[in-house]
Symmetry: C2
Subunit: 245 residues, 2 copies
């Protein structure tokens, strides 16, 4: 980063390529826990642990998006972004991504109340996911939007997850997979707006590099969530003391 | 917690006992990474990784204590608490806990600049440690003070650490151990004030239980830090992608 060349503004194509490379190397679809999941190698308690822990992330998304909303002075931006909150919370009870995730949780045999209480959430998962809220609270609107660009990589993951679940975990009621089906439609629409915003507003190389760092941080958050699950439930298999009291 | 008895205020003795039990079960001196360290079983790179990652925690302490300071309306409390910030930052350059930790880092063969840049800090360590700042930002003064009571358990740890380092890691210059020597004096004085404050201000059973949860959360933060080191450097030995760029 010290030479002059590296400070030049990247073209939209080069910049997009750099953003995509972050996902190719660091998106959590390549995490060993995810690989085991999609290969059908998770036990029922391990899959349940993933669903219950990932719920903490799902539940935080509207707070994260509301924080992003609160940073914008632009009516048009807020109008475009607000539907993310509605997508997750639903327009009414029994709708939305959080509801769909709870349906998934029940389809894996978990109790809804147990999942909603966050009692099954590992401390390290809380810290990583809270770190996402902390990140958007303490960074610029542009960096916060850039951190959402993991959606660039999500549709591929959800597309492979659907057949993987149907094949390997037939005991999960297919109604439980509605979340992934919905995200196949929502995520590409969301990311188109987010990517366009980041491309337009990163008007210097410094801003472009900040966007790349923001996206990397987001990848680390998702990766750490799976590290914690792997550590507690696969190997060495040590959940922390003083937990689930 | 549902029966009537459990809602009764605990006596100072019972409450202190409950707080101490949190440490007996969950303080990080019992973490496998710490056990390996004190048994002399860490390699030089593993010990360096601990020093560099733990520095992120050391560096955050004054920000955490300044946040606690900012929550108090009481001159006497602030007067008593402020010396924690001075203890860590030092009254002048070349003094204080952060400086002493950098001396330790150099004594283990690390470059000062490398450690100060946080480049060696694992993402999961950042999330856990940032979680401590996030905790005091979003909780009451009383809960924040309660979270500091891990100092109840620190002197024992530091007392065993000094001979362990001298015996097992003789390549670490003894000047590097000044941090632990200083904390043997500072921590008991600090915790006496903190414990007295928590005992006095937890005037209901509900507040007592909140203090216990706060201390538990702090133990989880320290424990997660070592989980991340164990995961990346011992077993399975997987640092995250897109790291140390």
């Amino acid at each position: 980063m010290a030479n002059i060349e590296s400070r030049e503004l990247l073209s939209a194509e080069e910049f997009t390529k750099r953003l995509r490379e972050v996902g190719e190397e660091g998106y959590h679809d390549k995490h060993p826990f995810h690989l085991l999941m999609h290969e059908g190698k998770l036990t029922k308690p391990q899959l349940q642990a993933w669903v219950a822990n990932r719920f903490y992330y799902q539940a935080l998304i509207p707070k994260k998006d509301a924080t992003i909303l609160s940073k914008s002075d632009d009516t048009a931006f807020r109008r475009a972004w607000i539907h993310r909150i509605v997508d997750h919370d639903g327009a009414r009870a029994g709708q939305g991504g959080i509801h769909k995730w709870l349906v998934l949780a029940e389809a894996t045999g978990l109790q809804r109340e147990e999942v909603e209480s966050f009692r099954l959430v590992l401390p390290a998962v809380r810290f990583a996911v809270d770190g996402y809220l902390f990140f958007v609270q303490t960074h610029s609107l542009l960096e916060s939007v850039a951190s959402s660009l993991t959606e660039l990589f999500a549709p591929t993951l959800h597309a492979t997850r659907l057949p993987a679940f149907e094949q390997h975990y037939p005991w999960v009621d297919t109604k439980g997979l509605e979340y992934f089906r919905a995200r196949l439609i929502e995520a590409p629409r969301d990311v188109e707006f987010g990517l366009q915003y980041v491309l337009e507003h990163c008007t210097t190389r410094e801003l472009q590099e900040k966007a790349i760092v923001a996206l990397t941080t987001k990848c680390h958050i998702l990766w750490s969530l799976l590290d914690a699950l792997y550590f507690a439930y696969i190997s060495p298999g040590w959940p922390p003391p003083l937990w689930q009291r």
